[in-house]
Every structure is written in C-alpha cells, then in structure tokens.
C-alpha cells in the first residue's frame, strides 16, 4: 500500500524524523482555515500517489489567505497524470539551503535493506543514478543487526556532506531505517531531504510503500487505506476477498492461481485480445467465490466477453461449474463466456456445464483454443 505524502510524514514524525508542521484539508474552506492556523508563507500541496506534482502545478506557495484560497481552488479536483486530487496538505514554507536524497528500499535481489543517500536531491533519483552514479552512496544493512551508527557516518562521508552535517545526516538515516523496520515498509524515500540555513535537516517530502501482508499488525496504517481513491471494481473485489486488478481491455478474465492468470492475460493478448482485468479466484475456489467473481468482472461495463481458465489443483472443476451456473441464475449475463476446465474433477465439471446448457457459454478443451475463441467473440460483440 502506497501512502500519501502527508501520511508518510505523520509516520516519520512518530519515529522522530523532523518534518514541517502541516494540516490536511479536503475542501477549499478547510484549506484556508489550515493555512490561517499554519501561518504564512505556507505551501499548498496536492496529495496524490504519483511523482511530478510540482511540474503539474500541484504545489504552490501562498503568501496570504487569498492566495491560499486561489491555490486550493485550483489544486483540489485537479487531474495529475490520471490521479484526481481529493486532498491537499498545507504546511509551513521551509527555508532551504540544500536539497539531499535519502531512502531505504527492500532489496529483493540482495535480500537485505538497501540504504541510499545523495547530496543531489530534489530531482529524479533514477536520472541521478544514470548520469552520475558516484553521487549516490549506498550500503546494505544486515537485517538481524540493524542499522549501525558507523553506517550512517559512512553514508554521510561518502555522500560528501560538510563536516557539521555528518552527525545530523547519520541520525536522520538511522531514524529512517527505524521507520522502515518498525512500520514494515517496502520503501521509505525522502526527496528532498532539506538542510535549513540554521544547519538542521528535515524531510520535505515522503514516499512510503507499506507491506500489505504486514498490515494485520499495524491497524493504524491499515486504516489509512482510502476506498474513495480506488477504482470501484477494485474496491468491490477487495471487499469480497478477491484478487483483482483492473486493466484497459474488454475481455473479462477469471483463473485460479496468480501465475496461470498472468499467463492467460498474455495468451489472450497474443491472439489479439485485450484483457479487462486480472482476477485470481484463488486455490480451492468454492461456488460462492466464483459467483461473486463473475459479479465483479461484469460490473465493468467495458467487458464484452469472459474467459474462465481453470486448472484445478485444490480447486475442483465441479465447484467452478456450479458457481458459474449460480452466477447465471442470479445475474443473467448477456455477454458470452468461454470456459476451459482442466484438472481435478474436470470430467464432472464439464458434464455439469453441458447439462445446464447455459446461454452463450462455450466449453473448450485447451487454453490456447479458449483464448482464440474469446478474442473472436469479443471482436464480434464490438462490431
């Protein structure tokens, strides 16, 4: 789960990382009240989970209440790269002497946390990595030992900071690492990490990705999920415990097992089709889960045909067939279905489907034939 900037800053503050004081606001009036509370100059910042907010006009400095209102009016509701701004964060304007970069990343390749620090902050770090990789100091931390003081010093020295900043930067990195571990993050990134004229440091931005699998023991963080910012179908699937990702096409997909579903999307694309979603009905899918999944798939109005690709292991094909029959009874779909059942109880599943003789349901023998058929049916429906 990705956090908004201000949610990330609130996490940082909990772990002693200095951040500018701020207040979130969802309406123009709230934003103006927040600005009055913070004082001027203050900054009105769009809260969306995408980079490049500044360039898109989503970050503005306000010198007084009138400006705060103008900026809040402009920014709330603004579209930034496909993300609508539902919330702004008002914070006191900071005095900036220098802009640095700091992050801790869950490095899957090395299987260790990776800490990165650079004095080239305020710009896209991937661009810095491409142009001058020597400007980024990095080190891997032993997850059983934790972050050591010497590691903070080393990063600060290797990053090339002035002598008086070695200690504050080292301490900042240690706290960032604490946040990463304590909140079970996959990423914590600060860009820019600012140095003020008083030679103190602070996080002026916050990018945090939390581990979804760990949210069960971080109830406060789990509560930060904002259903209104999510796609309607994805929210519906989430509420029903289904793993669903919405895509741009018109062919609804249901399969069991993440790998098989990904593979199904690829094969459909190879036959010239465009999948409308990823949906993993999971191992051991029971009839009710299948019915529920069909509802989610069909709630996307773009769907013109649906493909069921099941290879039963724990999942039983007769359960899938019964689930589909129940879905037809409840929802009465008007789009064609292509169904491929293989694996556990496949003969029984196919027999159940054949006997039910559902309108518009095509049973096919192989994954390739299933993909080819559903692509043809979707094209016919669009013609």
């Amino acid at each position: 789960m990705d956090l908004l900037e201000y949610q990330g800053k609130q996490l940082f503050a909990r772990h002693g990382i200095p951040v500018p004081t701020g207040v979130p606001a969802r309406t123009v009036d709230e934003a103006v009240a927040a600005a009055q509370e913070i004082g001027y100059p203050c900054v009105v910042k769009a809260q969306v989970k995408i980079g490049g907010r500044g360039k898109a006009g989503g970050i503005k400095v306000a010198a007084d209440a009138a400006e705060a209102r103008t900026h809040a009016e402009a920014i709330l509701g603004m579209d930034i790269k496909g993300f609508t701004v539902h919330e702004v964060w008002i914070e006191g304007a900071s005095q900036i002497e220098a802009e640095f970069y700091a992050s801790v990343i869950f490095d899957r390749g090395a299987k260790k946390p990776l800490v990165m620090f650079s004095t080239k902050g305020g710009m896209d770090i991937e661009a810095v990595a491409d142009e001058s990789p020597e400007a980024i100091a990095t080190l891997h931390v032993d997850p059983l030992l934790g972050f050591q003081a010497y590691e903070g010093r080393r990063l600060a020295f290797e990053g090339g900071v002035d002598a008086d900043l070695v200690r504050p930067i080292g301490a900042f990195l240690a706290k960032l690492y604490d946040t990463f571990v304590a909140e079970e993050a996959m990423l914590v990134e600060v860009n820019p990490l600012i140095v003020t004229p008083e030679r103190t440091v602070a996080a002026l931005d916050a990018k945090v990705t939390l581990d979804d699998n760990a949210l069960f023991r971080h109830k406060d963080n789990a509560a930060l999920r904002d259903p209104s910012a999510e796609d309607a179908q994805e929210q519906m699937a989430h509420d029903r415990g289904l793993i669903y990702v919405k895509l741009d096409g018109d062919i609804g997909i249901l399969g069991n097992g993440a790998g098989l579903v990904m593979s199904t999307l690829d094969v459909v694309a190879q036959y010239g089709g465009e999948p409308a979603n990823f949906l993993d009905a999971g191992g051991g899918s029971k009839a009710e889960a299948i019915t529920s999944a069909v509802e989610v798939i069909l709630s996307n109005e773009k769907v013109k045909a649906v493909l069921f690709n099941i290879f039963g292991g724990i999942t039983r094909c007769d359960e899938v067939a019964n689930g589909l029959i129940e879905a037809f009874r409840q929802i009465k779909p008007t789009v064609p279905f292509v169904v491929r059942l293989d694996g556990t109880n496949d003969v029984e599943g196919r027999r159940i489907l054949a006997e039910a003789d559902l309108p518009g349901v095509h049973a096919v023998a192989t994954m390739n034939e299933a993909a080819e058929t559903v692509v043809k049916l979707a094209k016919e429906a669009s013609a």
């Binding site: 869950f106 990904m262 094969v267």
Partner: protein
C-alpha cells in the same frame, strides 16, 4: 533419484490439526510420503488419523526422527514455526503459507543462510513432488508420473498447466519444485537448478518465472556459467501493467524493473529457449528430448 523430497523423507507437519493442514497431510500420506509426526502447540499427545502430534518441533524430531517439515500455519505464526523447525534440527523446510510479512521472511532468510545446512522452500508455494516417491504440499499428484524432466516454478497452477502438457506428450518428472511467489523465497531458481544439474535422473530442466524482482536474470547468468543440461523457460506477465501487484506479493513490475521481456531476453541470451505460451514450452521440451 529426485531432489528435495523422496523415499528418505520423514515429514513433520506444523499446523497438522487445522482443517487445511489435516486434509493435505493425509493426501500426502496417501500418496506414499512417510509422514511421521505433526506439531500444534497445546495439542501434544493427540493424533491425526494415527499421526502423533507434538507441542514442539524439538520433541517431534526427538521422538520421530523427522528430517523434513511442512509449514501450514497462518501467516502471523509462520516465521516463528520455520525458525523453530530449523532450531530443532530439521534440514528441509517447505512452507506453504501465503501472506507472510516480507520483513519476517527477510529475518528468517538471513538466519537460515547464517545457520547453514537448512534448506527452505517457499513460502507461498505449492510444495515439492517427486513422482512415485513423495509429495509434500498441495500439488495434485495424479497429473504427474516419474520421468526425466525437472520443473521449478514461482507459480502453482502454471506448473500444473505446463506439467500436464508435458504429461500428455508422454513425459514424466524427476521432481516438481514450487519456489513460491513471495519477495524473499527461501530457495531461488539457482538453488533448485543446481540440484537438478547434479541429479542423474533429470535430463531437461523447465523453469517457469514471472514478473518482479531479478531472480530469473540471476538464474540466466548462473545457467550460462554452470549448467550443461538443456533448460526451457517460461515467463508469465508480459502484459502486466507497471506498479500493480499481480496476485503474488512478489509479482510486480517496479518502474522499468522486473519486466517479463527483460527476463526472457536474459534467458535467451544464454541459450535458454523461452516458450511464449505454456503449450510452446511443452513443444520445445519435446523437440529437445526428441519424441
């Protein structure tokens, strides 16, 4: 021969008294796996259809000589159970549990690497099947028979799909190993491919990867240097959008990293033929083994 599990496997199941745990334990025993014990704290002294249950791994190992553990407990308790099994002297741990926090996996991985001699398969995996010998996990064994193709995969059902196409063409398997779809798998493609390379029964290796991380790229480099047996590859997720987790916690394209195209390219660069569909994987395998 086979790898990881076989006729010398003595299995102890953590979470044996849960409904899923019981179901799959008995399934594994029915297949011929030597299930010697189970562990559920607080239920020591009971039995599951004749399989004795212990409170701790230490007593299960002491009393029944278990050398392999299968972990079936829910995510909040799984890391603890893996560490307990290792501490008790179990040398092969197969973790089926899906949804273990990534930081738990990281600590377990680091500890097990330090404490060498313990092998972890998974978590979030379907287990290991050595046809005709032993099945530890949830792989539907009836689709597979003994043979000379070793399969290693990040995905369960996709393995069944590929394995079934091979079976329909008359091929069997030495072992089928699911390494799981999580960000920190206990064993990598490389670990398993090295065992297949050393296994006299295995003549062809099929590796099925997916988007996310760089395990396939690392495997490609290893294959180029160390593997003499033919390898056929498959990568799922060519059409996956960046930034979206596709079911498996580890299956995510981050920015430009972890794409299926880059993985296929890395494998092809070292001479691994990569099938674009599961069917094509079977076709290439058949071509190489000649039938």
């Amino acid at each position: 021969m086979s790898i990881i599990v076989g006729s010398d496997t003595r299995l102890c199941v953590s979470g044996i008294t849960g409904s899923e745990g019981t179901f799959h334990t008995l399934n594994n025993r029915r297949y011929g796996t030597n299930v010697v014990s189970g562990v559920t704290p607080g239920k020591g002294g009971q039995d599951v259809e004749g399989i004795p249950v212990f409170n701790t791994f230490h007593s299960a190992v002491g009393e029944t000589g278990a050398n392999t553990a299968m972990i079936f407990v829910p995510p909040p308790f799984a890391a603890d159970s893996i560490l307990e099994a290792a501490d008790a002297g179990i040398t092969t741990i197969i973790a089926i549990t899906e949804g273990i926090p990534a930081h738990d996996e990281l600590r377990v991985y680091t500890q097990l690497k330090r404490d060498s001699g313990v092998r972890l398969i998974g978590p979030n995996c379907p287990g290991v099947l050595s046809p005709g010998k032993a099945n530890v996990g949830i792989i539907p064994a009836s689709f597979f028979k003994e043979g000379n193709v070793g399969v290693v995969s990040r995905s369960g059902t996709l393995t069944y799909q590929i394995g079934n196409e091979l079976a329909q063409s008359g091929f069997g398997n030495s072992s089928i190993v699911g390494i799981g779809g999580d960000p920190v798998p206990g064993s990598s493609f490389i670990d398993v491919i090295a065992e297949f390379e050393a296994d006299p029964e295995t003549e062809l290796i099929v590796m099925s990867g997916e988007i996310g991380g760089d395990a396939e790229e690392a495997a490609a480099a290893y294959i180029g240097e160390h593997v003499t047996k033919p390898v056929v590859g498959y990568i799922a997720g060519f059409t996956a959008p960046p930034g979206k987790t596709m079911g498996h916690a580890g299956a995510i394209v981050s920015g430009s990293k972890g794409t299926a195209a880059a993985k296929a390219e890395a494998l092809e660069a070292v001479g691994v033929r990569v099938g674009r569909t599961p069917t094509q994987v079977a076709e290439i395998a058949i071509e190489i083994l000649g039938r």
